[in-house]
Amino acid sequence: MKTERLIKMANDISNFFNADPDKQVAAEGVKNHILRSWDPRMRAAIIEYCQKDGAELSDLAKAAVQKLS
C-alpha cells in the first residue's frame, strides 16, 4: 500500500477527532476508527511506518497508531 496515502488518511481522521478537547478521547477515537475500517494490510503498513519513522503523522495520528501496535 502507498504509505503516503495511508499517512494522509490517518491525518485526515485525526483532524476530525482533534476537535475533542480531551486528547486521550481523541486518540481513542482515531484508533477505533482505523481499527474498524482499515483492512489489516493497511493497519500493518501504518504501524510499520509509525515505528520506523512516523514524521509525517500528526501528533494525534501518531498517538492513535501507537495504540494500535
Partner: protein
C-alpha cells in the same frame, strides 16, 4: 395477466377524517368531507360521465358532462366541483341529464376527427368511451371552421401532440402545473380559438417542457400520445415494477405486448411517486433492448486479446478457476468484488455473501462508496441507523425546507415535484448550494434564502447556522433533554458557541453574508416543522461525514426529528443505494450495518452460511486500487458498476485495473470497466429480473420480470453459478428465498417477505414484530443507538487540501442533469440525448471573459490530476471562481481531473472540489485522444469476437 386498468375516481381523494353520509341514485354512501360528488359516486361503482376530470388533478368543471341533479338544489351542478354534504340526495342519470350530455358530446364531436378505427387511442380513448356512454348517435352540426387540420407537433422524441384531436379539457395544462410544477403548458387564445400551447406557441422541444409525461397520461384522447403506442398499438397486459433510475424508486406499470414494453406508465398506487414520473423512468427504457447489449458470456487471457464467446459453463468455470488460481498464488485476500446500487437487494446480498463466505474475506464494496457512504457513517453515529428519517410524503407537512447540496428537480425529479407542490402551498425554502439550482427560482417558488457558499465550506456554514441557533437560544431543549445524549449535547453546545463558528467569523471562508446565515438559521429553527434534504453536494467532500453529522446535530438541537414534516433526508443518487448498503456491501459491515468484528453477529452469519467468516474489515474500492498497484489485490468481480468511468482520478483507476490478473465484469453493456476485463458475464436489465429495490425513504419495492433475460440468466443466478463453481454452494430457486434469508439474519428486515410486499405494494424498513407494516418515520420514540439517545458530535471545520492557487485558480464542481443518469450507460442509449448530447463546462461570464472564452468554445480544464477538454457554456448560474460540469459521457473525462482527496471517515471522493485552470484550446486533450484510441481498439476486439446471434 391483464391490463388491469387503474380506476379513475375523477377527482383527488380528500384527506379529511370527518365522514359525510349522502345518497346517490338511491344508494347510501359515506365518504370523507371534501370529497366530490363524482368521487363519492365512483367509490360505489357509479361512474358519472366525465372528460375534463381526472383524479390526478383538482376538478375544473369545464366540460359539464358530469352534471347531476341534487334534490332541493337548483340546476345541474358539475359533480366534479360539487363537494358532498350531509344528507344530499343525488341523481346521476335521468332523461334530462342524458339530453344535456348528448348535446355536449355532439358539440365536442362536431370538431373532432372521426377516424376512430385508425386512431392511436383506439381502445384507450375517453372521448370515444363517453360518446358510447351518453348514447351519441348523430352529429347535427356542420361547422364552417374546425381544428381538424391543425398541425401536428412531433418534436418531442417520445410523444406527439396532435391539436386536431384536442378537446381543450385542460387536463394536460393542469397536470403540468399541479403534478409536475413546470407550468410549461397554457391555453392560448379565447373561445373557439382556444388551444393548448407549450410555452409561447412553441414546439414542445423548444418550450420549458421537461418531458415528464404527466400531460400524456392526463390526456383523454390521442392528442398527446406516446410514439411507441402510435407505432405498435395498444398494450395488452401490464405488470407493476419499480424504476431502475434514481433513488426515488417510482412504481411503474410496464404495459406490454408479449415481451415488448409498449410504455411505462407511473403507477397511481406507487407510494413513492403517486402516479408521477420523469423523462427517464417513463420514457428512457429503450436501452434495455439496445443493439449494444451483450448477450453471450466472453473470456480472454489479456485485455490485448480479442474477446471469445463461450458457453455459460465455460465462462463461469474460467472465472472461478482464475479466482482460485490467484488465491493460491497471492493469498486469500488477493481477490474481492464490487456490487452496485443498480443491482437488486437480492443480487447485492448474494455478491457480498459470495465474497465473505465463498472468497473467505471481506473485500466487498459498493458504489455507495463514491456517493452516500458519509450518510451511512454520519447518521449511524448520531441517530444509530444509516438511513434517512422520513417518507417522501412528509415534505407535505414541512413549513421550512432546507435543501443542501442537492438539485431535486434534476436529480430526483418526481420528489422535486412533490417538494415544489409544498413550496407553492407556502412552505419556506432555504437553498445551500454554490450554484443557482432551478429550485431557487421556479414558477411560483422563490427561495427565502440562497446561501451561495464557496465549494468545500459546507461545514463552516452548518456550524455557523448551529452557532446562531445556540447563541440566540433557538434550541428545543426539551427535545434534547428527553431524546438525546445530554453529555454530548453540552459538549457540542460549548464547542459550537465558540466565536470562530459565528457567521461573521466564517463569512470570509464561506462567502455567505453573515446576515443571510442568521436569517436562515432563525427561519429553520423557528419553523413548526423544519426539514432538511441533502445530496451529494454534502457527501462528496473531504468533510462529507462531518457535514452529515453537522446536519444531524442541527436537526436534533432544534427538535426537528421523530415526527411528520421534519427530519434529515438524504436524497440517494441511484435506485438502490439504500438497499445496497442495507445488504452488507461495505467491507466492514454485515447486512443491517453490523460490524464484522462483532462476535455475536458473526456467529449468526457463520451458522446461517455454514462457514467461518473473517472478523477483519476488507478493502474499500480506493484501497483495492492501491492494493492492485502494489500487487496484493489482483482479482476483481464487478457486478453492475462502472468504476473505470465513475471513480475519481481515473488514470489511477485504469492503471489499477490494468495491473489486475483477472477482472470479471457482469453488466448489460461492454462498459468502460469491461474494456479492462478478462471475463464478461452478460447481465439482465431491470425488466428481465425479479427482486426488490429500496429507495431513499427505506421503501422496499418489487422489481418484476416482464420479459425473459436476453442472456438467459437473471443476475442473482449468475452469482449463484459463480459461487457454486468456487466451491461454495448456493441453491436458491427464486429471489424470494434470498429475501427470506435476509429477513432471517437482519432484525430490521425480520417482517419483510415477498408475500408482504405483494400485499402492501411496498414496505419501509424497519419492518419487524414491532412494526409489521413498516416504518414511514423513524426515531419517533427513541433513536436507534444502543441507549436510544441521539448523539451530538463535534464538527470542526477543516479546510480542504484542494486549494486554489495561481496555477489552478478555479474550483470545479460536478453534478447531474435531468435527462441523463449517472455515467450515462443507460440514458446515452436512448433518445434522451436530444436534451443533453454532451457534457459542457459551465463558466461565469467574468471568468470566461478573462480567458477569452465564448459560448461553445473548446476549453481545457487542467487539475493536478490531469486534463480534459469540454465545450464552454457561459452562464451566471455559477459564481465567479467556480466552474461546473456533468459527467454523463465517458469521452468527457470528468474524472481525469478529479483528485484522490476523499472523506476522512469513508474515503468518499471529493468530487465536488477540484482546483483547476481553464484555458481556450483547439483540440481535445492528450488523455482523451489516448483513451479514444484505447476504447476504439477494445470495441474492435469485441467486434472480432462476437456473433451475438
Amino acid at each position: 395477466m391483464s391490463m388491469n386498468k387503474e380506476k379513475d375516481f375523477g377527482t383527488p381523494a380528500s384527506q379529511s377524517t370527518e365522514l359525510v353520509s349522502l345518497e346517490i341514485d338511491g344508494f347510501k354512501v359515506q365518504v370523507p368531507a371534501g370529497t366530490s360528488v363524482m368521487r363519492a359516486a365512483s367509490s360505489i361503482g357509479i361512474d358519472i360521465p366525465k372528460l375534463c376530470a381526472t383524479d390526478s388533478v383538482e376538478p375544473f368543471g369545464s366540460c359539464r358532462l358530469c352534471v347531476v341533479q341534487i334534490e332541493g338544489g337548483r340546476g345541474m351542478p358539475a359533480s366534479c366541483t360539487t363537494p358532498v354534504a350531509e344528507g344530499l340526495k343525488v341523481t346521476t342519470q335521468n332523461a334530462k341529464l342524458a339530453e344535456v350530455r348528448r348535446g355536449i358530446m355532439e358539440l365536442y364531436i362536431s370538431d373532432h376527427p372521426l377516424d376512430c378505427l385508425t386512431c392511436s387511442a383506439n381502445g384507450d380513448c375517453e372521448l370515444q368511451d363517453m360518446a358510447g356512454a351518453v348514447g351519441l348517435r348523430e352529429v347535427r352540426y356542420k361547422p364552417v371552421t374546425t381544428h381538424l387540420n391543425a398541425e401536428k407537433d412531433t418534436s418531442n422524441p417520445y410523444f406527439s401532440f396532435d391539436p386536431s384531436k384536442c378537446i381543450v379539457c385542460s387536463r394536460c395544462v393542469r397536470a403540468c402545473e399541479e403534478t409536475q410544477g413546470t407550468f410549461a403548458l397554457t391555453i392560448d387564445g379565447r373561445g373557439f380559438d382556444s388551444k393548448v400551447s407549450p410555452g409561447q406557441n412553441e414546439a414542445f422541444m423548444d418550450s420549458e417542457c421537461v418531458s415528464c409525461g404527466a400531460c400524456v397520461q392526463a390526456c383523454p384522447t390521442a392528442t398527446l400520445m406516446e410514439k411507441s403506442v402510435i407505432d405498435n398499438g395498444q398494450p395488452e397486459h401490464a405488470i407493476v415494477t419499480t424504476c431502475a433510475y434514481c433513488g426515488v424508486g417510482c412504481s411503474f406499470r410496464a404495459e406490454m405486448k408479449g415481451e415488448q414494453v409498449i410504455r411505462m406508465v407511473p403507477h397511481k398506487d406507487g407510494k413513492a411517486n403517486h402516479g408521477h414520473s420523469c423523462v427517464k423512468g417513463r420514457f428512457a427504457f429503450g436501452y434495455a433492448t439496445h443493439k449494444d447489449r451483450i448477450t453471450k458470456p466472453m473470456i480472454r487471457a489479456s485485455i490485448k486479446d480479442k474477446w471469445q464467446e463461450v458457453s455459460w459453463e465455460e465462462a463461469i468455470n474460467y472465472a472461478a478457476s482464475e479466482l482460485k488460481r490467484i488465491q493460491a498464488k497471492h493469498g486469500k485476500n488477493a481477490i474481492g468484488g464490487i456490487t452496485s446500487s443498480r443491482c437488486t437487494n437480492e443480487e447485492t446480498y448474494l455478491v457480498q455473501k459470495l465474497i465473505r463466505a465463498g472468497f473467505g474475506n471481506n473485500n466487498v464494496d459498493t458504489c455507495a462508496r463514491v456517493c452516500h457512504s458519509p450518510t451511512g457513517y454520519g447518521l449511524k453515529q448520531t441517530f444509530g441507523e444509516s438511513s434517512g428519517t422520513q417518507d417522501f410524503d412528509s415534505v407535505l407537512k414541512a413549513d421550512v425546507i432546507m435543501v443542501i447540496g442537492a438539485n431535486p428537480t434534476d436529480g430526483h425529479p418526481v420528489f422535486g415535484s412533490l417538494m415544489k407542490k409544498r413550496l407553492r402551498q407556502g412552505a419556506k425554502l432555504i437553498v445551500v448550494d454554490p450554484r443557482e439550482i432551478d429550485l431557487v427560482k421556479t414558477p411560483h417558488v422563490q427561495a427565502s434564502h440562497h446561501l451561495k457558499l464557496r465549494p468545500s465550506t459546507n461545514v463552516a456554514v452548518i456550524n455557523a447556522l448551529a452557532h446562531v441557533v445556540v447563541t440566540e437560544n433557538l434550541l428545543d431543549e426539551r427535545f434534547v433533554n428527553e431524546r438525546c445524549d445530554v453529555a454530548s449535547y453540552n459538549k457540542w453546545k460549548t464547542f459550537i458557541a465558540q466565536p470562530q463558528h459565528a457567521p461573521e467569523a466564517s463569512e470570509s471562508i464561506t462567502g455567505v453574508p453573515a446576515a443571510e446565515i442568521r436569517a436562515a438559521a432563525r427561519l429553520y429553527a423557528g419553523a413548526e416543522n423544519g426539514a432538511i434534504y441533502y445530496g451529494l453536494g454534502v457527501t462528496e467532500h473531504s468533510q462529507g461525514s462531518t457535514m452529515v453529522i453537522g446536519i444531524a446535530n442541527l436537526a436534533m438541537a432544534t427538535g426537528n426529528l421523530g415526527r411528520n414534516g421534519v427530519g434529515v433526508n438524504p436524497l440517494r443518487g441511484q435506485n438502490n443505494v439504500q438497499g445496497s448498503c442495507d445488504m452488507g456491501s461495505f467491507p466492514h459491515e454485515f447486512p443491517g450495518y453490523r460490524h464484522v468484528s462483532d462476535p455475536a453477529t458473526r456467529e449468526l452469519f457463520e451458522t446461517t452460511w455454514n462457514t467461518p467468516l473473517s472478523p477483519e474489515p476488507g478493502l474499500r474500492i480506493p484501497n483495492m486500487f492501491d492494493a492492485a498497484l502494489d500487487g496484493s489485490f489482483v482479482g476483481l468481480y464487478v457486478e453492475g458498476e462502472d468504476i473505470a468511468q465513475s471513480d475519481p482520478d481515473i488514470k489511477h483507476v485504469h492503471a489499477a485495473l490494468r495491473a489486475m490478473e483477472c477482472v470479471i465484469v457482469q453488466d448489460i453493456f461492454l462498459n468502460e470497466t469491461a474494456k479492462f476485463a478478462h471475463v464478461f458475464l452478460p447481465g439482465a436489465s431491470f425488466l428481465e429480473k425479479d427482486g426488490t429495490f429500496t429507495n431513499a425513504e427505506r421503501r422496499i419495492s418489487p422489481v418484476r420480470k416482464v420479459m425473459r433475460p436476453l442472456a438467459g440468466y437473471q443476475d442473482w443466478e449468475v452469482t449463484q453459478l459463480l459461487a457454486n463453481a468456487m466451491g461454495y454452494p448456493m441453491n436458491y430457486a427464486h429471489p424470494s428465498e434470498i429475501m427470506d434469508e435476509i429477513a432471517s439474519v437482519t432484525p430490521s428486515f425480520k417482517g419483510v417477505s415477498y408475500a408482504k410486499i405483494d400485499e402492501l405494494g411496498s414496505v419501509q424498513w424497519p419492518c419487524n414484530d414491532e412494526t409489521p407494516v413498516g416504518t414511514p418515520i423513524m426515531h419517533t420514540q427513541e433513536f436507534m443507538r444502543d441507549n436510544g439517545k441521539g448523539l451530538f458530535m463535534l464538527t470542526e471545520f477543516v479546510p480542504t487540501q484542494e486549494k486554489v492557487t495561481p496555477m489552478f485558480p478555479l474550483i470545479l464542481t460536478t453534478g447531474r442533469i435531468l435527462s441523463q443518469y449517472n455515467v450515462g450507460a443507460q440514458t446515452r442509449r436512448t433518445e434522451n440525448n436530444a436534451w443533453h448530447a454532451e457534457d459542457r463546462l459551465e463558466i461565469h461570464p467574468h471568468d470566461a471573459e478573462d480567458r477569452g472564452v465564448k459560448e461553445g468554445d473548446w476549453v481545457g480544464i487542467k487539475s493536478r490530476a490531469g486534463e480534459t477538454v469540454l465545450r464552454a457554456l457561459v452562464t451566471d448560474r455559477v459564481q465567479p471562481g467556480v466552474v461546473y460540469t456533468t459527467f454523463h459521457f465517458p469521452e468527457s473525462g470528468a474524472n481525469v481531473i478529479t483528485t484522490d482527496n476523499s472523506d476522512w471517515a469513508t474515503n468518499c471522493p471529493e468530487y465536488k472540489v477540484t482546483a483547476v485552470q481553464v484555458t481556450k484550446v483547439t483540440q481535445v486533450s492528450a488523455w482523451q485522444q489516448e483513451y479514444q484510441a484505447f476504447s476504439d481498439n477494445q470495441l474492435e476486439l469485441l467486434e472480432q469476437g462476437i456473433t451475438n446471434g
